[in-house]
């Protein structure tokens, strides 16, 4: 067994991904986004930083990248809205925080961490979570900031077939 002192893994979603449906440019953008996020997290670990900081930094990088289904670039509900969820957990002490149904918080994972560290509860949802984010000074963005043309097109396609889709189906649903 490899007893490497630190390790980081990340995912950007799963699905019925077909190489033939993904253009070379799209694939390159996905790979670049994965690499950027990996570097954000490993930069923390290489300096002796904490695992909890590394996973937050990694996920923030993915939330900021509109290619992935989280934060900016989130998929749309059947009503065309944004509803983002996030959770974080610290293996040292089983501390955990989660947020549900956000539509303005720029980085949901950072709000989950604030719930874990600065709130008596484990999970906050909807208006209460948004209010806690404002109280703690987390950055909010207008809903339109999260919505990309690609996601609007995917919703239209899904509505036509009444499909509810995983992150990546035939390269259409991210």
């Amino acid at each position: 067994m490899n007893n490497t002192p630190w390790a980081l893994a990340l995912h950007g979603g799963a699905g019925t991904i077909l190489r033939s449906k993904l253009t070379k440019q799209e694939e390159a953008r996905f790979r670049e986004g994965l690499a950027d996020a990996l570097r954000a997290g490993t930069a923390v670990l290489e300096k002796g930083g904490a695992a909890i900081d590394a996973v937050e930094r990694t996920v923030i990088a993915l939330e900021e990248n509109p290619m992935f289904n989280a934060g900016r670039g989130s998929v749309l509900t059947s009503e065309g809205g944004i509803e983002m969820d996030a959770a974080i957990m610290d293996g040292r002490n089983l501390d955990a925080g989660a947020v549900i149904g956000l539509n303005t918080v720029r980085n949901p994972i950072s709000l989950a961490r604030l719930v874990m560290e600065k709130n008596d509860h484990v999970v906050l949802a909807g208006k209460g979570a948004e209010a806690f984010a404002r109280e703690r000074g987390l950055q909010s963005m207008p809903t339109d900031w999260f919505v990309t043309e690609r996601r609007r097109n995917q919703l239209e396609e899904a509505r036509k077939t009444q499909a509810v889709s995983l992150d990546h189906n035939d390269g259409k649903y991210g």
């Binding site: 893994a9 799963a14 699905g15 077909l18 993904l22 904490a50 996973v55 509803e83 983002m84 889709s165």
Partner: protein
Amino acid sequence: TVGAVARDMGGNLAAATSTGGMTNKAPGRVGDAPLIGAGTYASNRGCAVSATGHGEMFIRLTVARDIAAMMEYLGLDLEEAVRRKVHDELPALEGAGGLIAVGPEGLPVLSFNTPGMYRASRCAGESEQIAIFE
């Protein structure tokens, strides 16, 4: 859905998951990502897990915590615990998706039962691993 798991130089584990959910989902629908023990879990006694896929099935199987429990109570190694969950139990419920996990020692495990999962990993002294397709 996106997520990360890590082990730091102190041997401490952590997991994080963030998602917009599923395209065309019903308003108010909650998947496994924000449910501790389903799509996200971390314990230094077991492992750290972040999942992606059909959230409803990951909730029913309490996937993330169950992997840690298999290690803790059955003494399974991380790879075998993940294999049972992703390739035996989830498909039995038609649960498509995958997960990433890391334990107190060893390499991360990245496993999925769909044709692909956008994924990357790196360990101290090793080069980056980045992949999309199976």
